[in-house]
């Protein structure tokens, strides 16, 4: 086994994860074939003797032959298990191997002792137990490999090489040598080596492997591209902006790996039992043997029962129940651009009653555009230009919309400029003091809105955000900005409503605008006029009525995402907020929310099923073995089947429809 690892490692170099799982499966398979070659003759001899009372070879010789055949099975092919098990007994780090090795070694020794006639010969049984154990491990490792196939694909997704342009020449270099600022050439059909920006060329790129977005995305000069996505039809020159651990793919992998390590609360009990399981079984075995000896006084029978108890107990099924389901689930999610960061979210999700959506950038595209300009004196251009001079200094998306609309070449000098968070901006151009903002701000400054209010309200009814412009405390007009709703927001929210969730939209916008947008997408409840810093507080209030999931971007909404019971952070382009959010959606679509919820629920159900089976198996099987109802070989088969069942059941999760 060790040898194989090294071989694979040197083949792939140290930068990639070797397929550990494959090496493990291969090694079990080899042991499986070899051990059965020796075990089948043993089984035939034992069966014919027991059932037909017929011996192929005369008696002590047949026993000697069985002992000889069983030796390699237990001590050569099973050596890894025996060694680990015996060592565990001395270091007190007990595991599955401790039980199997004790069971088989004791059984084998009976074969030697049998010559002086004290006990029955269980040495053939030892070989059969080991062979079935190895078989079970092989099937289990294969099923585990299947459970992790998507994640492994993700780990192996990154490009291995890059074509770099230096001067007028191309060089092919390993991906690890690409530096920030390098210009990379990508031909059609090739993988984008790393995250960067297109400097020359046009093409469409298949990004489905990292964002779940099924349609190819058009790229031209200035577009950002993601490493590991596939260039489809054009030649692209890309400047590398992120390399190594900072790339989008590296972040996704980090998220997935971390999630695998997080514990789901429901697993805690199983973990506790697993950790004391083996010593408990050892004690139970001694008690069983003693009990049988006292009541029956027959050493052979008592030993048989004790061996059955040793090999039937299975901490594996308990320990595998949660991680395998989580693994399959992460894979299913990752393929759709859903990254479950904290396993706990899977359990919490089923308790969630309300789903709170941030408006801008979550329900809407987050790219507001100026749709209407109303000037009191009819000079629309003058109004937007004046506004643009101030808004140029702000970084708010609405400010940007106004600046883009005006498209000024030169800006006037603005003095004593101030951003009034959540309300607007103010500043001086020459001697004129200009205030631009919402109604709240105008009221604060005691600016009369009588003449403009009708226009403002009309725009707001249409779901637009209004910015009132005033000069020297006099209103001169209003600019209306609309942020289009994302294509599938409505479909997603309808699905959630149908599932019985209370859907709520939260926004800094005024009530009228907010309600108009909410109506467009089918949300019934609106919490408007909320300053960004107060979103978390609103979530806290809602939590009094039941668990809350919050959907928002990971940057501005981080406190609300943390406050909520399940925070779902929407990815924007190549930035996935690693810190905020229990679940991260790589693709900015609300359908991802529906999928994430369905996936979490299906996964949790699977985990519960698995834990139930694992518990039930041990609770039923162990007493049966103690009672002497199970032959050791049957006990071993049952044990192997129990962990295989759990892993296969986890794989069945894939059949669930979550879209």
């Amino acid at each position: 086994m060790k040898h194989e690892h090294n071989e694979i490692e040197s083949m792939n170099g140290h930068h990639h994860d070797e397929p550990v799982e494959d090496a493990e499966i291969k090694s079990w398979k080899k042991k499986l074939v070899l051990s059965w070659i020796f075990t089948i003759p043993i089984a035939l001899m034992m069966l014919s003797e027991r059932l037909l009372n017929f011996s192929f070879i005369e008696m002590p010789y047949q026993s000697i032959l069985i002992l000889a055949l069983a030796f390699p099975v237990v001590f050569i092919f099973g050596w890894d298990t025996i060694r680990a098990g015996i060592r565990g007994l001395f270091t007190f780090y007990f595991n599955m191997d401790s039980l199997i090795s004790l069971g088989t070694v004791i059984a084998y020794i009976t074969g030697l002792v049998a010559f002086i006639g004290l006990v029955d010969d269980y040495s053939g049984v030892a070989a059969m137990i080991m062979s079935f154990y190895i078989t079970g491990k092989f099937v289990e490792a294969t099923a585990r490999g299947k459970a992790s196939q998507e994640i492994r694909k993700l780990l192996e997704l990154g490009a291995k090489n890059a074509r770099i342009i230096k001067g007028n020449r191309e060089y092919e270099i390993p991906i690890s040598e690409v530096k920030i600022g390098d210009i990379l050439l990508i031909k059609p059909g090739e993988k984008i080596p790393t995250d960067g920006i297109v400097v020359k060329g046009e093409s469409s790129i298949d990004e489905s492997m990292v964002t779940g977005e099924s349609l190819p995305v058009e790229k031209l000069k200035g577009s950002s591209v993601i490493g590991a996505t596939i260039n489809q039809d054009g030649v692209l020159y890309v400047k590398a902006l992120k390399v190594g651990k900072d790339t989008f793919l590296a972040h996704i992998i980090e998220l997935v790996e971390e999630a695998q390590g997080t514990k789901i609360p429901i697993q805690k009990l199983a973990d506790k039992i697993t950790s004391i399981f083996v010593p408990a079984i050892l004690i139970l075995t001694i008690l069983t043997f003693t009990g049988w000896m006292i009541f029956l006084g027959e050493i052979s029978r008592s030993l048989g029962v004790a061996i059955a108890v040793l090999v039937i107990a299975c901490p594996c099924a308990l320990g595998l129940a949660t991680p395998t389901a989580l693994m399959v689930s992460s894979g299913m999610g990752a393929r759709r651009g859903i990254l479950i960061r904290k396993g706990e979210a899977i359990q919490t999700m089923k308790e969630v009653k309300s789903i709170v959506f941030d408006k801008t950038g979550t329900i809407t595209k987050g790219k507001p555009e100026v749709t209407n300009i109303k000037s009191m004196n009819g000079k629309e251009n003058e109004l937007i230009n004046l506004a643009a001079n101030l808004e140029k200094l702000s970084e708010h998306p609405i400010a940007k919309a106004i600046v883009d609309k005006a498209a000024l070449k030169k800006y006037k000098k603005v003095t004593s400029f101030k951003v009034l968070r959540g309300r607007g901006v103010e500043g001086k151009i020459g001697k004129d003091s200009v205030v631009i903002g919402n109604q709240t701000l105008m009221n604060e400054r005691k600016i009369n809105l009588d003449k403009i209010i009708k226009f403002v309200e009309n725009f707001e009814e249409e779901g637009k955000t209004t910015m009132i412009v005033s000069v020297n405390k006099k209103v001169i007009g209003v600019v209306a900005v609309a942020d289009a709703v994302k294509e599938d927001s409505k479909e997603a929210i309808e699905k959630l409503n149908k599932q019985g969730y209370r859907t709520i939209m939260i926004t800094g916008d005024n009530e009228r605008t907010a309600k108009a947008i909410a109506k467009q997408v089918g949300i019934n409840e609106v919490i408007a006029n909320v300053l960004p810093e107060n979103k978390a507080k609103k979530v806290e209030e809602l939590q009094k009525e039941g668990m809350v999931a919050f959907i928002g971007d990971g940057i501005n909404d981080a406190p609300a995402l943390k406050q909520s019971n399940v925070g779902i952070a929407m990815g924007t382009g190549t930035d996935i907020a690693i810190e905020a959010g229990d679940i991260v959606l790589a693709k900015g679509s609300l359908i991802g929310v529906v999928q994430a919820i369905n996936l979490s629920k299906a996964t949790f159900k699977k985990i519960k099923q698995n834990l139930f089976w694992a518990f039930a198996y041990n609770v039923i099987a162990i007493p049966l073995a103690i009672g002497g109802f199970l032959h050791p070989v049957i006990a071993e088969i049952a044990m192997a089947l129990s962990s295989i069942t759990v892993v296969s059941n986890a794989n069945l999760l894939r059949k669930k429809k979550i879209d």
Binding site: Y93, E257, K263, T274, S275, G319, L320
Partner: protein, 70 residues
Amino acid sequence: MKKLKLIIEGMHCASCASNIEKSLRKVNGVREVSVSLMLKKGIVEIEDFVKEDELKKAVAKAGYKVARIE
């Protein structure tokens, strides 16, 4: 405080993972440990003074091998 990823060889059952966790937790300066049987990896959060060798030894004590540390 730093985070390390251990690639571990030889794990094949759930009690293996919990044994490794137990052993790593005993190392002075180890804050958080989580070992994944499925990924054959362990993530440890450690104080800066903890040496990689100590982690390797702890894993070896439980009967497994650290293939590499990232």
